[in-house]
Amino acid sequence: MDWINAIIQGILLGGLYALFAAGLSLIFGVMRLVNIAHGDLIVLAAFLGLTITTALGVSPLIALLLVVPVMAAIGYVLQRGILNQTLGEDILPPLLVTFGLSVIIQNGLLEIYSADPQKMSAGALETASIALPGDLNIGVLPLMMFVVAVAVIAGLQWIFYHSSLGRAFRAVSDKQDIAQLMGLNKAHVFGLAMALSLAVVGIAGVFLGIRTSFDPSIGPGRLIFGFEAVIIGGLGNIWGTLIGGIILGVSQNIGAQINPGWQLLAGHIAFLFVLAVRPRGLFPRID
């Protein structure tokens, strides 16, 4: 039963990892930008959630209503103000600039919030659980987060393939010049893509902050999880990131079940294994 439990918890955790990954995958797909600051932006969103919950005395889930639009706005401004200027033939400038951004966010958060671990509380929800036959218990909160993650992925998939915004994303991704001839301002389209990416980061950050304790230094670790989920699932495949997240979450939990010290290692091994067997991930979409 412990094993089945570990796998179920791993699947639910995978939803969170998929949220880490989705925004990363989206902007890579649209503008071939690898955002090194992605993990730190997740942590920034967690701290933003913490500040709102304490200042307004509301549940973190209510704080989402503010965190998501604020993160989206940050994304748009960041893209238009800084990142667009770094995009071009050379892939190095955006890497360097987002790396710099990562350092700035970490130090900024450290300055404001100190290095102490923080956590957000979702109140009674945190202990609520559903009993399943065979001594299994599923926490309501992890289950809810998983459902939200699936819904977010489905929503992104819909936007990408069935909305005019998604059409613009795909057109700009295919051929930037020609997309401009259609009257699309690529700077604006990229801004919207980053806004959407950071809106998802907003959800991911608040969920992270409810699930575990966090401090300003944990961003790069979340970035790695996001990367691994993206690569396992296959570049450019939005549903793939969910599968990648789940594989990562399940491997980690199985590792932890064998030996508590093996949790992260097991995840990395699963990642390397997929990479060795299918270098382009399980369901690649981008060539």
Binding site: Q180, L181, M182, G183, L184
Partner: protein, 234 residues
């Protein structure tokens, strides 16, 4: 003479240190079709890229309805009502045929063209509307590229070598459709290497040679000899 719809004024274009265009001045009048001919590498595509804003210019180098627009970005130029069927078709490979057409119309400019009208012009596109655009044959892809440009209901349409790489029979049918396409009060610039084709569809011709205009005149007045001389520089 009415005022020109679109003009270039002493337009120059550079790729790094390499100068591709030297002082190009052309005019297109309302509802006029002009042709631009020239050998490989003469600068025809570069001129189209300059007009559409894909290459940036000095503001006064491109004039649209009396306004200097040379400094506009390509998407701003598109909003003015200038559309292009680019060389090599350049369809969006992630978009279906229908999506390629819809994105051409996403600015919402009013006019005679709509998805239905494009399907009427090229019925095969309606049949194949849900197929990825790049899965079509070359001729059908060219129809998508033309339809995509029409969807923006432009005031002027730039065609950059629409016959390139197509079978003669396809070229013939596309040129036969041309009057229906530009017969709707539109102006057009037709870039073409086939001199006979260019002369037959246009009222005036400019010949480019190594980045300069080597000849210009009325299509019905230019002799074959004069054009050949300007074309090959002999």
């Amino acid at each position: 003479m009415p005022d020109a719809l679109l003009s270039t004024r002493e337009l120059e274009a550079h790729y790094g240190d390499f100068q591709a265009l030297f002082g190009i001045s052309i005019d297109v009048f309302p509802e006029e079709v002009i042709a631009i001919i020239g050998a490989n590498g003469a600068g025809k595509t570069t001129l189209m890229r300059s007009i559409t804003g894909l290459l940036r210019n000095e503001p006064e180098m491109v004039v649209w309805k009396g306004q200097s627009v040379g400094g506009f970005r390509a998407d701003q130029v598109a909003h003015l009502g200038i559309a292009m069927v680019p060389e090599g078709r350049q369809l969006f490979q992630s978009l279906s045929v229908k999506e390629n057409l819809i994105i051409g119309g996403q600015m919402g400019r009013k006019g005679p063209w709509s998805l239905e009208k494009v399907y009427e012009l090229f019925p095969i596109l309606k049949e194949r509307r849900n197929v990825p655009a790049t899965a079509l044959s070359g001729g059908q892809q060219q129809m998508v590229a033309i339809g995509r440009a029409l969807m923006s209901n432009p005031d002027i349409l730039l065609f950059d070598e629409i016959s390139l790489g197509l079978a003669p029979i396809i070229i013939k049918s596309i040129y036969e459709a041309l009057p229906k396409i530009i017969g709707q009060g539109m102006s057009a610039i037709i870039v073409e290497q086939d001199i006979a084709k260019a002369v037959s569809v246009s009222s005036r011709v400019y010949c480019l040679q190594e980045g300069r205009i080597s000849l210009k005149g009325r299509s019905d007045e230019l002799t074959r000899e004069a054009i050949s001389a300007a074309y090959f520089g002999v």
